[in-house]
């Protein structure tokens, strides 16, 4: 008997548990083997994660496109400071300020130029179908060069002629094939409001949620097109400072001389003001966040159910592993490993599908939708967190695997 006992391997007492890394690797490998064994279930889990992934990409994409396009106009203006009515919520629906404030601004030493900008929505008749649609008119002193849009510089002289406009070639197609017609026949007449005006060129600007299309015209032509506008009121004043002037000091000086009916904003402040409108004053920002959250919750529920039923269907096996000496922590790593695998397997095709969808939607809506690395990282973290939470919820089921009930 005792001689027999000596045959027992001496290493028994020296056994040590695997390190964290190799333990995790074994856990993830076991998770993968389990997932792989049930193809249909794996496919539906991946589809669930993909669904959440695409939904979140779309919501975040639309949100970013909205915010980006909302500030296209502001971004295109070459000005250091702006005068705006403090009552203005967003530039597509401006409150006016007295025109005299523009000349008052010139009283500040650092100011080189101050130009009024006029904004209004007017109906534009599609030259092909004859249907009317609201277009954003942007009027400004063509000479001053406040607007910096591709194609605009060459048209400065043409826009000085009476009743001329430059049409935004990236307006929605419902305005008609204006760009093509211009390329084919040169300047041609269109109807804006009740007035006949001539398209003398095109610029590149882009649509936003506030504007389906844009037309740029001179100050004088703007007043002709928008008759109801009193001469003494403007919507925005763009101020250019002398080279080397201190931005904040100039802003303070302007504030000091301006009555409270105008606010003095830097370009960045104006952009943020605009963004804040969309984010806070409209439900749009909330809708996109809510949409993303819904996608994540649906994805989480799907992943949770898959993981949960994997555990519930293998309680005896999990209990056996516990009896063999597997710790609850190790088995939790198996479940979380499965969650991580699903996150990865759903994210990759989900991202590819989203990138393709972005292209399709951008073509259809003319919104600036494109896959951005930063957003992909954000979505990856969200999807990972989604699967992680699902995993943590499912892990609780492991407690039901009690090795004492095995015999």
């Amino acid at each position: 008997m005792n001689a027999m006992s000596d045959l027992r391997p001496a290493a028994r007492g020296a056994m040590r548990a695997p390190g964290f890394l190799s333990g995790s690797w074994l856990a993830v490998r076991l998770a993968w083997r389990q997932l792989r064994s049930e193809r249909a279930r794996l496919a539906s889990a991946i589809a669930g994660v993909m669904f959440a992934c695409v939904l979140v990409f779309m919501q975040l994409g639309f949100r970013a496109a909205l915010f980006e396009s909302a500030t296209t106009l502001i971004g295109a203006m070459r000005a250091d400071l702006f005068l705006m009515s403090p009552m203005t919520l967003a530039s597509f629906r401006p409150e006016t300020i007295p025109r005299v404030r523009v000349s008052q601004a010139l009283g500040v030493e650092a100011v080189q130029a101050a130009v009024p900008v006029y904004l209004a929505q007017a109906s534009f008749r599609n030259p092909e179908s004859g249907r009317r649609r609201m277009i954003q008119l942007i009027g400004f002193d063509a000479e001053a060069g406040v607007l910096d849009l591709p194609g605009l510089a060459a048209m400065r002289e043409a826009l000085k002629q009476p009743d001329t406009i430059a049409f935004d070639a990236r307006s929605r197609p419902e305005f008609g094939p204006v760009l093509r017609m211009f390329q084919e026949q040169g300047p041609f007449a269109v109807q804006i409001g009740n007035r006949e005006m001539r398209v003398v060129g095109t610029v590149e600007m882009g649509t936003s949620f506030g504007a389906d299309g844009n037309a740029v015209l001179s100050e004088v032509n703007f007043r002709r097109a928008v008759r109801e506008r009193p001469q003494a009121l403007v919507d925005l004043a763009a101020i250019r400072l002398k080279p080397g002037a201190d931005l904040l000091a100039a802003q303070a000086a302007l504030r000091a001389i301006m009555p409270p009916d105008v606010a003095v904003l830097t370009q960045e402040e104006l952009r943020r003001h605009e963004l804040r409108y969309w984010e806070e004053a409209t439900p749009i920002g909330f809708i996109f966040s809510f949409g993303s959250l819904m996608g994540l919750i649906v994805g989480m529920v799907i992943v949770y159910q898959i993981l949960f039923s994997d555990i519930a269907g293998h309680l005896k096996e999990y209990a056996t592993l516990k009896a063999m000496g597997y710790s609850n922590a190790h088995l939790s790593r198996v479940v979380l490993g499965a969650a991580g695998i699903l996150a990865l397997l759903g994210f990759v095709p989900g991202t590819i599908a989203s990138a393709m969808l972005y292209g399709v939607i951008a073509d259809a809506t003319f919104l600036p939708l494109a896959m951005a690395t930063e957003r992909a990282v954000t979505v990856f973290l969200m999807i990972f967190a989604m699967c992680g939470v699902a995993g943590l919820l499912a892990v609780r089921k492991l407690r039901d695997a009690d090795p004492a009930d095995m015999f």
Partner: protein, 233 residues
């Protein structure tokens, strides 16, 4: 040489308060080195409960329970988990992971030991499967094996880590007579050659012959402790 199992005056009760019911009463049980002990008794006499206490699957309530040199009374969960790694369990059903091959199932018992590499684990699993007569079936999944073959894989899994003690509860209950006997004799032969002690619960009179000693229980007490007629090694 210390006894692999040394149970003294263990009392165990399920439930609490008014529902409290004692199922073990001052039980003493000893399994010597390399000894094969069979535990029998009528249904409900507490055999399984005693086995789960010896296997560190349950916390000891009263009395002393020393297994492989460890006192389990008052032991923490983590200590019990660690001790389980040195015990080979064989259950009534094989409980193999259906999505792993026989080889991978057996290797699972070795993955708990950080000192082994993947190659070594698979080699040892193959060798163990060969010694239970399943060399050609190592790559098959449990679903492709017969009941007796699956239970032999379970035996291989219990033994591959060279445990200091094997605990088995009615390992033949799900098998027909021939494969049941085959599995138990295999278990006995392998344990003998390695000098591993076995504590085995069974109702099956046909396999009592493998025992060195037979312990009978009734109503939570040990009522008989006989040296078996089986020839000792």
């Amino acid at each position: 040489m210390e006894n692999p199992v040394e149970i003294r005056e263990v009392t165990y009760a399920y439930g609490e308060g008014a529902l409290r019911r004692e199922v073990l009463r001052e039980v003493d049980l000893r399994v010597g080195p390399g000894e094969i002990v069979i535990l029998t008794g009528p249904s409900g006499s507490g055999k399984t409960t005693l086995l789960t206490l010896a296997g560190a699957l349950r916390a000891v309530q009263q009395g002393s329970c020393r297994v492989l040199g460890r006192e389990l009374a008052g032991a923490r969960e983590a200590e019990r988990v660690a001790l389980r790694r040195r015990i080979g369990f064989i259950f009534q059903s094989h409980n193999l992971l259906g999505f792993l091959s026989a080889r991978q199932n057996v290797a699972m018992a070795l993955e708990l030991d950080g000192g082994t590499g993947e190659r070594e684990r698979l080699e040892r699993a193959d060798a163990m499967l060969a010694s239970v007569g399943l060399a050609e079936h190592a790559g098959k999944q449990p679903g492709q094996l017969s009941g007796g073959q699956r239970q032999r894989v379970a035996v291989a899994r219990a033994l591959v880590g060279s445990p200091g003690l094997i605990l088995a509860d009615e390992p033949t209950a799900a098998l027909d007579k021939a494969s049941g006997q085959e599995v138990v004799h295999l278990l006995r032969d392998l344990a003998r050659s390695r000098g591993t002690a076995i504590l085995l619960v069974t109702h099956d009179p046909r396999i009592l012959d493998v025992a060195d000693r037979i312990v009978a229980m009734e109503d939570g007490r040990v009522v008989a402790d006989d040296a078996a007629r089986a020839v000792n090694g």
